[in-house]
Subunit: 150 residues, 2 copies
DNA sequence: CCCAAAATGTAGCCGTGGCTACAATGCAAG
DNA sequence: CTTGCATTGTAGCCACGGCTACATTTTGGG
């Protein structure tokens, strides 16, 4: 129970990278090129922040750039972006299927997506495809914790 | 769609505080006192890190301390801890109800809990109490995104 | 063709949350 | 009562992800 938090911590390291490559891939798909300015407006940060973050992405082999040129995703970056997109969409549609409004689902999925394990993703996929699992175990869940959120 | 990410970012600011007060409250319940050393082992960080973080908690009015004394939660800190605990337990039992193993549910819930809106929490509670919502809409979800995780 | 505006890059600052190394304190055993 | 060890505090370092201010480059309109 003690070491579980450290996993959460190290997730943070890759969150920004994931958000960026996902955004870059999406912008590339619609704009054919992706420039820093696009990321500035996407993330509502300054160009200085984008520049520094992109430098880290280059360092980590996710993006390639020449000075004053648009951004290019490496194969590694493209792979990561596709993975993140799939995960993101799965989480978002799961939330919608739960009955959460599309707007809230969009917001929440962006926060949640980085913290969902493959196991949980599989469970989401299974439920979307085959329905909620335990129609018998459902009963035994009523008294588990005090499920009385404010 | 652009501003949604900034919400996620600002969540980070309060994540650590929430993790700490939740841990402190839990330790207080079992140990009757909470010392820095308890947080050191709980979070697997050094005492210097705990000390600095606790200083921020004090600054933010969540914790009170005297030098070389155990930690005390303020009313505000206690309130926040209770809120987080409830939210954490709800997310965790929802994951278990989804069919995720208890171990994975514990880990994932620690990452997820900070990013779940009240709306989504309500949806989780509703599903735990009244079952999966839309047994008729379930069909129309099959072709939504390409739900074909790795 | 040139020049202004847009885009990009750079320098330097801040807060958070890590770390190591070391100082100071509290407590318990002898 | 002292002394050693556990605990707590402090100093100073680092990376990340923000920011402002300013420099540089690209590019489009006159």
């Amino acid at each position: 129970m003690s070491s579980a938090l450290s996993k959460t911590r190290q997730d943070h390291a890759t969150e920004t990278a994931e958000d960026y490559v996902e955004a870059i891939a999406e912008i590339l798909k619609t704009n054919s090129v992706c420039r820093c300015v696009d990321l500035v407006s996407r993330f509502s940060v300054t160009n200085a922040t984008v520049n520094k973050t992109v430098a880290r992405l280059v360092r980590d082999g996710l993006v390639e750039t020449q000075p004053y040129r648009p951004l290019v995703l490496t194969a590694k970056g493209t792979r990561l972006a596709a993975e993140c997109k799939k995960r993101h969409e799965l989480v978002e549609s799961f939330l919608v299927a739960m009955g959460v409004s599309p707007e809230i689902a969009t917001t929440d999925s962006e926060g949640i997506e980085h913290h969902v394990s493959k196991d949980t993703l599989r469970a989401m996929k299974r439920i979307l495809e085959s329905g909620w699992p335990i129609h018998q175990a459902n009963e035994s869940l009523h008294q588990k914790p005090s499920v009385d959120a404010e």
